[in-house]
Amino acid sequence: MNPSMLMSVVVSVPEGGEPSFSIAKMMAIIVSAVFINNFVLSRFLGICPFLGVSKQLDSAVGMGAAVVFVMVLATLGSWLIYYNMLVPSGLEYLRTITFIIIIASLVQLVELVLQKFSPALYDALGIYLPLITTNCAILGVAVLNIDDKFSLGYSLINSVGAGIGFTLALVLMAGLRERMETANVPAALKGLPIAFLIAGAMSIAFLGFAGLGG
């Protein structure tokens, strides 16, 4: 027997898209994305907006909302194209290039649509949208969904969870940074260093979620 065939017998390779859907698994995915493997605090995805847009609470909430929105759309688009176009034609290796194009165009599209149909929402989210194209959290969730072999449903749940986790970290960070504005921080640590320290403290605290549901 040919060794490579043999390996596929021994180490089973899960197929993309699982047929069954369980509430327990759904919960596990959400808890993992929001708390245990928080995108920012544990996976290091989306650090730049996390540091850049967390100076004020209002903008943090806006950014969070925009990220959740785009994450879900990007997941939908990238998953469908990956499994329906790239996989059938054996072009999986074009994944990165395809995804980034999808995300960039999506952001443009969302911007146009919002501007046209919901100016209020556009005003609220507009300034954050361009920033999002280069946010690794978005590309990250699209790629992770493929790497983790999530079905479309689980992928969408994962992206919502990731977005909520990102928003949670961002909003907490914004509150803490506002408090640091009136703190007696040593001169050397003012500015970004203290922001990193806050992130470190948050990251330690989030270790408390480790193993949740495990």
Partner: protein, 203 residues
Amino acid sequence: MSLAQNFSRGIVKDNPIFKQVLGMCPFLAVTTSVENALGMGAAATFVLVFSNFLVSLFRKVIPSKVRIPSYIVIIATFVTLVDLLMNAYLPALHQSLGIFIPLIVVNCIILGRAEGFANKNKVLPSVLDGIGMGLGFTLAMVVMATFREILGNGSWLGFNLLGESYQNQPLLIAILAPGAFIIMAFILGFFNIMEKRKRGGVK
């Protein structure tokens, strides 16, 4: 600006990590060991140099309307290239860098240099800039990874430095997520102090 400056600027003066604080995600994520840091640094440098090269070469040809999308495609192409090559020839490293290889696409350093430098400069300076920035990125990663690997694993580039007993009970947090944030905070604080000293000295 001299060619030498094009090259050297990215290493210390405008170091993309410590001075510009760009590309934080891969920086924090893969600096758990010096080996990973070198691998990531090399991959990013490769992409930086070639994307700068191509962008500079075609800067007059590409219409400004599609500039950014074209850059993204160019960058993504080289990232995929690195991804495939690394997977084929350095599978262990590929495994440990994981998702952060494809994410080089959105690394702000690379798009930033394409848009901010290569787009406006001749080929040679652009390539030198790419190499300089790439080395600066790599150097910063190695510095960070040095702290993390020594503290968190008692070793440097895999060589056991602090002995068996330390390795049995290392300061594990250094290679966990919080360690990255905290060590970076103090490195940046150190640079703050140096900067202040320097400015004070000039005065």
